[in-house]
Amino acid sequence: MRGGMIRPMGPGPHFGPKMKQFVPRLPFDMVLCESAFPRVKAAPDESAFTQALLKRNADLSPTPAEQAAVLNLVTKIQAVMDNLIVDPGNFDACQIEEVRQVGSYKKGTMMTGHNVADIVVILKTLPTKEAVEALGKKVCDDLRAQEPQEVLVLTMLPNDRGFEISNSEATVRVLVTTIHQNLRKLDPELHLDQKILQSHLAAIRHSRWFEENAHHSTIKVLIRLLRDLRGRFEGFEPLSPWMLDLLAHYAILNNPSRQALPINSAFRRCLQLLAAGLFLPGSAGISDPCEGGNIRVHTAMTLEQQDLVCLTAQTLLRVLSHGGYKQILGLEGNSSIASEMSVWDGVVVSALEKAYEKPPERPPQDDDTDNMDADDDPMETTDN
């Protein structure tokens, strides 16, 4: 790569923290420099906006029945897996090392109408497709044995991440991965994709981090709202659930007082941060707390996606500031506000154009297109 060629000074290794000279900078953040901007006039009353946010959150939260259904299925599967760990019996297709719950179910950020929980299974053996399928069958069989009345509704579908077990009310996605030692022994022909396996391991780290750092209820509410936003506005599609988690955490807790911001400020701040280019090239962004080496989470997006996310946030921010929160929250109207001109109180809010241009005279295998799927935990990308 060209990185090597241009290493200026410093004997650092090719990869690593050698880009000393490049100091990414956090973008302007009003919350962090509030003192420089004393209020000229009292802040506008935002109680209606806050109410709308809370209402939306309530709408998005899963119903108790849904929660119970997921919990029920997860518990059963977890029990079956635990049993397999303790006593594999004659099941020798693979050996399970550990089973962990991850994702929105674990984090408590599930959304209604999307009754899917994620479980990561770490295999001690290498995750061949056959082994995964065999495991799926085994788990399914055991479940059926336990609950004979569910025999008909219980289905198992293998996919390239593992398999899904669903009954009539809920789905549990079993994401298969393997222990670290095995990761380098993988053969793309036989085993699951290494990237996928790694993303599953990352998912475990994410849920652990979340448990420790982001248990604040406001964060969960905000995450749910942001996921909803992502689902409704195409421009936010590239944001992975993990990015949203981090963004929500950042927006709520990263302020001078270290006290959680109220939901209305935090929601606006998310848009402000994105609009100010938090997730643009050259920005320090948010570095991934679950990976070493200061990896900025937004670099998982292509440049084009970064542009798209930023411009969507910029347009929405302007709509929001002119009082269009109902449209943004999806209580009224549709998502066209992000892409079309709209009028608010006589003020014309126009949509923005892309700034990113594909670099010219570059070979077609340019970086930007081939790592579209290098998301942080892409298994959650279909969450909403």
Partner: protein, 935 residues
């Protein structure tokens, strides 16, 4: 060479030397040899044991009886001499040629001599393997013992050498040539004390190369046993002829090579081995078959005949961990020690001791191993990877193993395959790395390799466990991170490398030598940049240099401003003089002194305060606006002065000043012509020079009283009523006062002299001024709000920002809605009441500016800052990577954008304006670049 001279008597010696001078081992044969050989004293230290040994052959042959060495020693040599047909000369010649020969050719003959000797010893098995490499060692050793210098380390290997013999003594009771054998064993006994190691170490060091050479030309051993037994192949030959033929045969060579490569000792995995025949069987059945087999029986018989020990028929289980060298496994021991090289000694002794103590315990182990082996055979793995291939009728016709990519038709074959080693290996590799697969026994290389791997793994285990996670994932992620890292950064680094401290690079600013105009603060020509500039920085600096006024412009402005100031002062004096008689007698002179420097605010203030008498009408003149702040841009032709009046300025006053000013100007600058206009509604008069450069100076009349009145008592109408009827426009006067305050604030915030972190800020303000002038969307943003905003935004970064970063940050702030409704607003520090400095902006204007800033921010982020700045892209210095932003491309793009975007939105128009403007200006711009860069 001296060799030829000294060993003229013995050609052989010369031959050896030529063959061996290269060997580094410094063993000087002394003692008995030297006496016998004339050459002895002249033997070089470079002479090696092999050579010495070989030499001893001849000498021994010649002086056999008189050799001072022990009988055993003689005996050892006797072998060679005997094989050499007792003809010293002949042996010599032959050996000579041998040394000249490549070692491979001699290898087997060497070995074969050993075997002959061995038959003499009777305990061939044990001896050979060791002797294959150690025999020559043994022989010279005994003779050298006394003379070898640093043989301290020898003890260990000495015991090693004895070990095989010891084994033999204990086990080889049936030795037919017992006396001889005993003799030999006695040899180590005597020689043990005498250090043998030098030879041994040398030996291990040398290995095959010369070793076989030593013992030459086999031929009939003199000892009684006339059985021609090949110990490698475990066969006996009818006569010397057949034996020789056998030795030269393919089969023997193969075996020999195999033995040399790996004399079959301990192996991984579990397999059964017949020690006697050196045959390894993969299973118990195979082993049983072998034991029953004719070949085995034959060997047993032969061994019985030879009186060699016959191992029990219990199989030796060669397992990964238990290296059971059975009681009689002399071969194994010997081989093991030789192969393990430097560690030979300790293991050797160990083996010796264990073997002497022997056996019962071992058999138990053995049985366990056997059980182990059988158990393992039972467990097939990886059934799920075997596909059943069916024919049309759904009948299974064959099986396909996906792991091993092989097919078979028979279900039994499938079973066998699943138990098979190859399949298990594949399974281990591809499915379960923890599956234990026995190692294929016959391949020693493999074993070694695996041994090595295992050791490596052990070594790596620690750090790997620690690092693995990071290595695997981080590295990967870094890779992606790296790949994604934006062009800018790369380019920027490139740039850093070429210009480590950035000398040629930092973009074209004012030439360093040029005197700075005194009234342009905040622009040190060479900023002390902490780090080299990014592409953004370079663009900003280049743009800044482009908009920064030329020296002539600055000079012209400076001239007209100072002339106007001087003239105004004289007007003030004049008015004071005229007014004085009317009201009171004042000394105009004194006032004059006081107001000598009208430019300077402070002085003027002083003057104001000190004035006790009735106030002058014109108290002083001050620069405001871009002139005071140093924000003049190229092409600016209008500057502002404010004249502070003692009382509320009236139209009358304005007229009087306007009437008098031309006269004074004529006095101040007789050679220049100025045009003076009154703009009553602006409370100002405009002084304009008449020349090629039209520069106008707006002189606004105002008075602090107007504001005081406002501040003190907004509702006291009394004073307002008192106002003269022709007082000038109040708002204009107030504006002028505000401009005065802004100028002060600015000069205070950006002190000219102090190098604070805000140079970037001044630069950014100039750039934004340019933007506001250039781009209609930004027009409504008043300069005071813009300045204030830049200052707040950049200062709040809390760190020094390079110009590029500072500009980006301003756009970030705007993009995040700084001007939008609901933001805190820009509190004006120059007003008592909280006032938003940007309050004149309408909601739509705010919206448009924000949208434009948002787009600009993304343009900057995506390396198109030149579009924001309205300039040509600056290629990275010298080494542009394939002309990233060529002019052509940009043009293409701009037209493309025009086509793509729907009409009716103001931004597009703006952009097109920009583009066309850029296109128009392009030529001039680039020429400017050239000029500036030329400095």
């Amino acid at each position: 060479m001296y060799w030829s001279g000294l060993s003229a008597a013995a050609n052989a010696a010369a031959a050896y030397q030529t063959g061996q001078t290269g060997y580094p081992v410094g063993h000087t044969p002394t003692g008995t040899y030297t006496t016998q050989r004339a050459a002895g004293s002249t033997y070089d230290t470079g002479y090696q044991t092999a050579a010495a040994a070989a030499a001893t052959h001849s000498t021994a042959a010649g002086t056999y009886p008189s050799a001072a060495a022990s009988a055993t020693y003689d005996y050892g040599y006797g072998r060679t001499t005997q094989t050499a047909a007792a003809a010293a000369a002949a042996a010599y010649d032959s050996s000579k040629t041998y040394y000249a020969q490549p070692s491979t050719a001699t290898a087997y003959t060497g070995a074969d001599t050993h075997y002959h000797n061995k038959t003499a010893y009777t305990n061939a098995g044990a001896y050979t393997t060791t002797s294959r490499q150690t025999t020559p060692v043994v022989t010279p050793k005994t003779s050298y013992t006394s003379t070898y210098p640093g043989a301290a380390a020898a003890a260990a290997t000495a015991t090693y050498n004895t070990s095989p013999y010891a084994v033999q003594t204990t086990t080889a009771n049936k030795a037919t040539a017992l006396p001889v054998y005993m003799q030999q064993t006695s040899q180590p006994a005597t020689a043990v004390a005498a250090v043998k190691t030098p030879g041994n170490t040398w030996q291990t060091f040398k290995k095959q190369g010369t070793v076989p050479n030593k013992t030459q030309k086999p031929k009939a051993p003199p000892k009684p046993q006339q059985l021609h037994y090949c110990d490698v192949c475990k066969i006996s030959c009818a006569g010397p002829q057949t034996y020789r033929e056998h030795l030269e045969g393919q089969k023997h060579k193969k075996k020999e090579a195999a033995a040399k490569a790996g004399p079959t000792p301990s192996r991984h995995g579990a397999s059964l081995r017949c020690e006697l025949c050196d045959v390894t069987c993969t299973g118990a059945d195979a082993y049983a078959a072998h034991i029953r087999g004719a070949k085995h029986q034959k060997v047993v018989k032969l061994h019985q005949k030879l009186g060699k020990p016959i191992p029990s028929t219990d199989p030796v289980v060669v397992g990964g961990t238990t290296k059971t060298s059975t009681t009689t496994a002399g071969t194994a021991v010997g081989a093991k020690t030789t192969t393990s090289g430097t560690t030979a000694a300790p293991t050797g002794t160990l083996a010796a001791t264990t073997t002497t103590t022997t056996s019962d315990g071992k058999k138990d182990d053995l049985k366990e191993d056997l059980l182990d082996l059988k158990e393992k055979d039972v467990e097939p793995v990886g059934q799920e990877y075997i596909e059943e291939i069916k024919n049309e009728e759904g009948k299974v016709i064959s099986f396909n193993c996906k792991l091993c990519e092989c097919r078979f038709n028979d279900p039994n074959a499938k079973e066998m395959h699943m138990k098979g080693r190859r399949h298990r290996l594949q399974y281990k590799k591809k499915v379960n790395p923890e599956l234990v697969v026995e190692v294929k026994p016959s391949l020693r290389q493999r074993k070694l390799q695996e041994e090595k791997l295992r050791r490596q793994q052990l070594r790596e285990e620690m750090w790997r466990r620690r690092e693995e996670e990071r290595l695997l994932e981080e590295e990967e992620r870094w890779y992606w991170e790296e790949r994604r890292r934006y062009e800018e950064e790369c380019e920027y680094l490139d740039w850093c490398r070429r210009y480590p401290r950035g000398p040629p690079g930092p973009p074209p600013m004012m030439p360093p030598g040029m005197p700075r105009p005194p009234f342009m603060p905040g622009m040190p020509p060479m900023m002390p940049m902490r780090r080299p500039d990014s592409s953004d920085d370079r663009h900003v600096l280049a743009k800044h240099a482009e908009i920064y006024p030329k020296e002539e412009e600055l000079g012209a402005i400076q001239k007209i401003v100072s002339n106007t100031e001087k003239a105004l002062k004289m007007v003030s004096d004049y008015l004071a003089e005229v007014d004085a008689p009317k009201e009171q007698h004042i000394k105009p002179k004194a006032k004059k002194e006081k107001e000598e420097v009208p430019k300077d605010d402070d002085d003027k203030k002083d003057g104001d305060k000190k004035e006790d008498g009735p106030p002058r009408m014109l108290k002083g003149v001050m620069r405001v606006g871009i002139l005071a702040k140093g924000l003049l841009l190229r092409g600016d032709a209008s500057v502002q002065l404010v004249v502070l009046c003692g009382d509320k300025p009236t139209r009358t006053l304005l007229d009087r000043v306007a009437d008098n000013l031309p006269k004074q100007l004529a006095v101040v600058a007789p050679e220049d012509k100025y045009d003076i206009q009154r703009v009553v509604e602006e409370a100002a008069l405009v002084v304009q020079n008449i020349g090629e450069q039209r520069i106008s100076v707006n002189v606004t009349l105002t008075s602090p009283i107007m504001r005081e009145q406002l501040l003190h008592d907004g509702d006291s109408q009394v004073t307002a009523v008192k106002d003269p009827p022709d007082v000038l426009d109040k708002q204009k006067c107030l504006d002028a006062l505000a401009a005065l305050r802004h100028a002060k604030w600015f000069q205070h915030t950006f002190p000219q002299a102090r190098a604070n972190g805000l140079q970037s800020c001044v630069m950014v303000i100039r750039i934004l001024r340019d933007l506001c002038q250039r781009v209609p969307t930004w027009g409504p943003l008043n300069s005071w709000a813009m300045e204030l905003m830049c200052e707040k935004v950049i200062a709040s970064a809390g760190q020094h920002l390079s110009p590029g970063d500072a500009l980006r940050r301003v756009f970030e702030a705007l993009a995040s809605g700084l001007l939008l409704p609901g933001s805190p607003g820009l509190l004006d520090p120059c007003e008592k009441d909280p006032i938003d400095a940007a309050s004149p902006l309408s909601a739509q204007e705010r919206e448009d500016i924000t949208a434009s800033a948002q787009h600009a921010l993304r343009l900057i982020a995506f390396r198109q800052i030149h579009k924001v700045l309205g300039m040509d892209p600056i290629p990275p210095p010298k080494f542009q990577r394939g002309g990233r932003f060529t002019r052509k491309r940009r043009r293409d793009n701009s037209t493309g954008e025009g086509n793509d975007s729907e009409g009716g939105d103001g931004k597009k128009d703006k952009k097109e304006d920009e583009d066309s403007k850029m296109d128009m200006d392009k030529d001039t711009n680039s020429s400017k670049h050239l000029m500036v860069e030329g400095h």
